[in-house]
Amino acid sequence: MKVPVTVITGYLGAGKTTLLLRIARETDMRIAIVMNEFGQIAVDSKIFEGKNIRIAELAGGCVCCSLSGEFGLAVEELIEKAKPEWIVVETTGAAEPGALAYDIKENMPLVKLDSIVTIVDADSVARFPSLGHTGREQIELADILVLNKIDLVDKETLESVREKIKKINPRAIMLESERCGIDFGLLFGVERDSRAKKHRIHKIELEYFDFVFDGALKHDAFVSFLESMPKGIYRSKGFVRTEKGSFLMNFVAGRYSLEDFDCGKTELVFIGKDALGNKTKTIEALDSIRI
């Protein structure tokens, strides 16, 4: 199975490291974080010096690493050495994520691009009229836009920032946060951030619901269902059986993928800011395409 990759971008100081620190500390998954430098996270940890990568083991099963070789080779080495369930890649504030995303999609057989998350500093967007070349590309290519530092701007300013960003990327899911307090369900498709509760970090809670069914669904009808997913559902993932086989399904911000995967039943989770408002409609739609 291909390892999903989340790419995190954002301008210098937007909050990328804050988000990565939270992921490292608060998830229970075995996540490998590829960072520019990991000094801030991996204090006192044992460092593995690979050929293309330096890896540091963190408490709780995460590893973080920095590149010393080419990205593609480094990721292969990372998968072999650390066997992560998920890879999160931080780009530098000056990086244009397009070429990286393309590489992941086209040239790296062991991984798949799950989503591009762009952290936008609301205060800074409000203060500087031009978005800049790099800043614009980061926003344009995002699946998930985290409008961060909203506590630093007033209501009207926030509204104008929202509009400005939406104009450049109307497709992405937009979330608002103070210190990158976002629900990891959105990033990883499952609520695995049990440790977060101990940290009592303020965050915007998302809503979840499941659909479980022992049988199979009509394949083409299921694809049409994915293509017309209600706007309030940001992400969905799980297993699905159809007359054509069984699959691992992943949906984020209007994009979806079906990968061959051995599973006994259909089991899907739906996540969104207004997921519950769409629950009845969604379950009915799925019930109607049972075989």
Binding site: Y11, L67, S68, G69, E70, E96, N107, L131, G132
Partner: protein
């Protein structure tokens, strides 16, 4: 990309190759912007280039015009191809976005006594040997292993340090911009993180658009016989050109100071800018001065990098041809930077002023008599090395007196017409490699994906770019050099 919401300016035609955007285009413009380009190149620039160059025109202390070269395309803060001079003694600023992340990214050209016939039978062996000698790729490490303290010495001393170690010849320094040493570099202004990233990268090409090429001087491609002869260029000759910079070191220096500037720009210096990618500090402020000194360290790191590569190139040639590099006539023609800022004296409104000239993806092209030039080039003006795309060829130009109109600055390459992502969608690295080989260009690369980004079709027409610089009088053509072998980072 879609820039529909960005306004397209009205251009005032100054000449067939110079176009002006007036200060009425955007609030806050202190000076007009001028684009040096043929009408066709101008029309094909995207709206973001106009937006960016007019943002530059709002920076404090800017004098005369914000310029954009014919190979201009959008970049971080300044467009690539952006040139701006700030009055050092009248609140002028320095901006890392006007220099670039790859500080002193530049070109070096080495001549040989070899002809096409001498090299052609050994081409593959030679390219493979160069590929082994000069490490390429994202995290590549050089054969010179330095500890942090020695590295600090290198970044204060530049290319002369390498020559003292036996990497290259004294003569190379006379044929390097600034003699390969940007005086005033101070390693104390550089973070230890930057040192850590740089200390193993001396002698490496890096990735992206960085490359090393074996090129052919076709007889019909010499345009100025006198200068070509004087610089050691002759018909049917083989020369070596390469393009690289300060690697992770320069990138870290730029990132460090962008952060510093973002913190003090508004609060301490009350500088208002339109785009945070243009983060700036007054040139004469402590922060501005520290960045300038750190930038000089990156300048020197890059000069040392290219100096070490020259040494390795000579080794490769002497091993393949079983002859000393001296006997092969492998003298350096020149080395130029196209990402830097420098403090220069220029005439503004009739009086001499000290200006901080930002050149980002733009090459200095000092004309005859300029004090910046080493004695060897003071009579004729300096050689300018322009790297084209790996498929189409490169140029050797010369600085001219009329270049004063752009602070003695010309283009730096062909300039992208599409993003790297788009190029990867349109071209395939492995097919491109085969296709180029059919056309007589042998390519060796660490990354096919990276190769696709550099396809000739992703760039503007180099001949049209060079013609624009020639016709507008900012530099003149000496020779065109076409590739036959390429090591791509």
């Amino acid at each position: 990309m879609d820039f529909k919401e960005l306004k397209k300016p009205e251009f005032r035609k100054i000449s067939d190759y110079i176009w002006e955007i007036g200060t009425d285009f955007k609030a806050g413009m202190r000076v007009p912007a001028r684009i040096v380009a043929s009408e066709n190149l101008l029309k094909n620039m995207d709206n973001q280039v106009y937006d960016q160059i007019t943002n530059v025109a709002t920076l404090p202390g800017i004098v005369d015009y914000a310029y954009c070269m014919p190979d201009g395309h959008s970049g971080y803060g300044f467009p690539i191809g952006g040139v701006a001079a700030m009055d050092a003694n009248d609140n002028g600023v320095i901006s890392p976005g006007g220099i670039g992340f790859d500080i002193n990214c530049g070109m070096r050209l080495i001549r040989t006594d070899l002809t096409f016939k001498d090299v052609q039978p050994h081409l593959k062996t030679l390219v493979n040997k160069l590929f082994d000698k000069v490490p390429a790729g994202v995290g590549s490490k050089g054969f010179v292993k330095l500890d942090a303290n020695t590295f600090r010495k290198v970044i204060e001393e530049g290319a002369p340090w390498c020559v003292n170690q036996g990497y290259g010849w004294q003569d190379d320094l006379d044929a390097t911009e600034l003699g390969g040493d940007d005086r005033g570099a101070d390693a104390k202004t550089v973070s230890s993180k930057a040192v850590e990233r740089g200390k193993e990268q001396i002698g490496t090409l890096g990735s992206g658009n960085h490359y090393l090429e074996i090129q052919h001087v076709k007889p019909e491609n010499i345009f100025d016989e006198r200068l070509a002869k004087k610089w050691g260029i002759f018909p049917d000759q083989i020369v070596v050109m390469f393009h690289c910079g300060s690697r992770g070191f320069g990138h870290q220096v730029a990132t460090d100071y962008l952060n510093t500037f973002l913190n003090v720009m508004e609060s301490k210096y009350k500088i208002k800018i339109l785009d945070r990618e243009l983060a700036s500090a007054p040139f004469n402020s402590p922060e501005g001065q520290d960045y300038f000194k750190a930038m000089k360290c990156a300048m020197n790191m890059s000069f040392a990098n290219r100096q070490t590569i020259v040494h390795r190139v000579r080794e490769a040639f002497s091993e393949v041809f079983k002859t000393d590099a001296e006997k092969l006539g492998m003298k350096q023609v020149y080395d130029v930077s196209h990402n830097r800022a420098s403090l220069e004296k220029h005439k503004v409104d009739g009086s001499m002023k000290e200006l901080v000239v930002h050149r980002k993806g733009a090459t200095a092209a000092y004309g005859p008599g300029r004090e910046e030039l080493t004695p060897r080039f003071r009579d004729d003006g300096q050689p300018v090395i322009i790297g084209g795309s790996m498929e189409t060829g490169s140029y050797l130009l010369c600085g001219v007196e009329s270049g004063s109109s752009t602070w003695f600055t010309t283009a730096h390459g062909s300039g992208r017409t599409m993003s790297r992502t788009r190029a990867k969608q349109l071209y395939r690295g492995d097919e491109l490699q085969k296709d180029m080989e059919k056309r007589g260009i042998y390519v060796k690369t660490t990354s096919y994906a990276g190769l696709a980004e550099e396809a000739g079709g992703a760039y503007k027409d180099i001949d049209e770019v060079i013609e624009s610089t020639h016709q507008s009088g900012i530099s003149k053509k000496v020779a065109k050099l076409v590739p036959i072998g390429n090591v791509k980072g």
